[in-house]
């Protein structure tokens, strides 16, 4: 009998902790990117704070990269592996969701 848990997936399908960690970090960074856009566009104080650190777009990019690198290092060190299919679901899902959040924001609000 087979199960769908990662531990039961064949070794050939398991992705190492570094790739898993940075893949998950990408997914979170992409959603963070969209949420930060919505926050800075709807709360003037947030955009003012970002501008106080430099151009708001530069600051925005720096925050997204810090989230990616920081979480990537953290998740990698946790040593947790994931199946390739599972990680692809994270990457595809977050890319579509993050893209739709950005486009949707400028269609509805912008």
């Amino acid at each position: 009998m087979t199960t769908t848990t990662d531990t039961a997936v064949h070794d050939d399908e398991m992705v190492n902790a570094k790739i898993t960690g940075y893949g998950k970090a990408y997914s979170i960074a992409v959603i963070f990117n969209a949420l930060l856009l919505m926050l800075k566009e709807s709360v003037p104080g947030v955009q003012d704070f970002m501008k106080s650190l430099g151009h708001h777009w530069i600051t925005h990019g720096a925050f997204v990269l810090i989230v990616f690198v920081g979480l990537g290092m953290y998740f990698s060190k946790s040593g947790k592996e994931m199946s390739g299919s599972g990680l692809v679901s994270w990457i595809v899902g977050s890319t579509i969701l993050g893209g739709l959040m950005i486009v949707g924001w400028f269609v509805i609000v912008g």
Binding site: K18, I19, Y22, N33, W57, F68, L87
Partner: protein
């Protein structure tokens, strides 16, 4: 370096990053023990090119784009900025981070691990798709400036 050079370098680096990502996708689809090194080289090339596109575009955007933005918004295609530029500004971070992730994914055992292959191929595919969307948006923004200047000329 003139303003126009930045506008030429940005899509050029972007296209090179996209082509390298296509190379990663196709080579991973046909992976053998012999071409793993080339897959990793192509993944690094894609990341470097997308980063160069980001740096050049970032400099242009911060230093020069304000003038173009005012021209576009006063012209017949204000949505070239309001929709396409605004989307491009923020979706570029997605392709930037994904292109940075691509060589990390390709550092795994691409030839012997089907899971790593799936991750590499999906990541490369999205670098291509988002990259092409960025190229298209850039073309529309450029046209936004042109039609606005043509309208000013009467």
């Amino acid at each position: 370096m003139s303003e126009q050079i930045y506008l030429l370098l940005h899509p050029t680096f972007g296209v090179l990053g996209i082509i390298a990502a296509v190379w990663v996708f196709v080579a991973t689809l046909n992976v053998t023990h012999e071409n793993v090194g080339r897959i990793r080289l192509a993944a690094k090339t894609s990341a470097v090119m997308i980063w160069l596109a980001y740096i050049v575009a970032g400099y242009f955007y911060v230093v020069y784009y304000g003038g173009d933005k005012a021209i576009i918004k006063a012209g017949p295609w204000p949505w070239a900025h309001n929709f396409f530029m605004e989307n491009k500004e923020h979706m570029f971070f997605m392709v930037l981070v994904l292109a940075t992730f691509l060589p990390i994914a390709a550092s795994g055992p691409v030839d012997t691990n089907s899971g790593v292959r799936k991750v590499v191929m999906w990541s490369a595919a999205f670098v291509v798709l988002i990259g092409l969307a960025m190229e298209g948006a850039g073309a529309i923004i450029g046209m936004g400036v042109k039609v606005a200047l043509l309208a000013q000329m009467g």
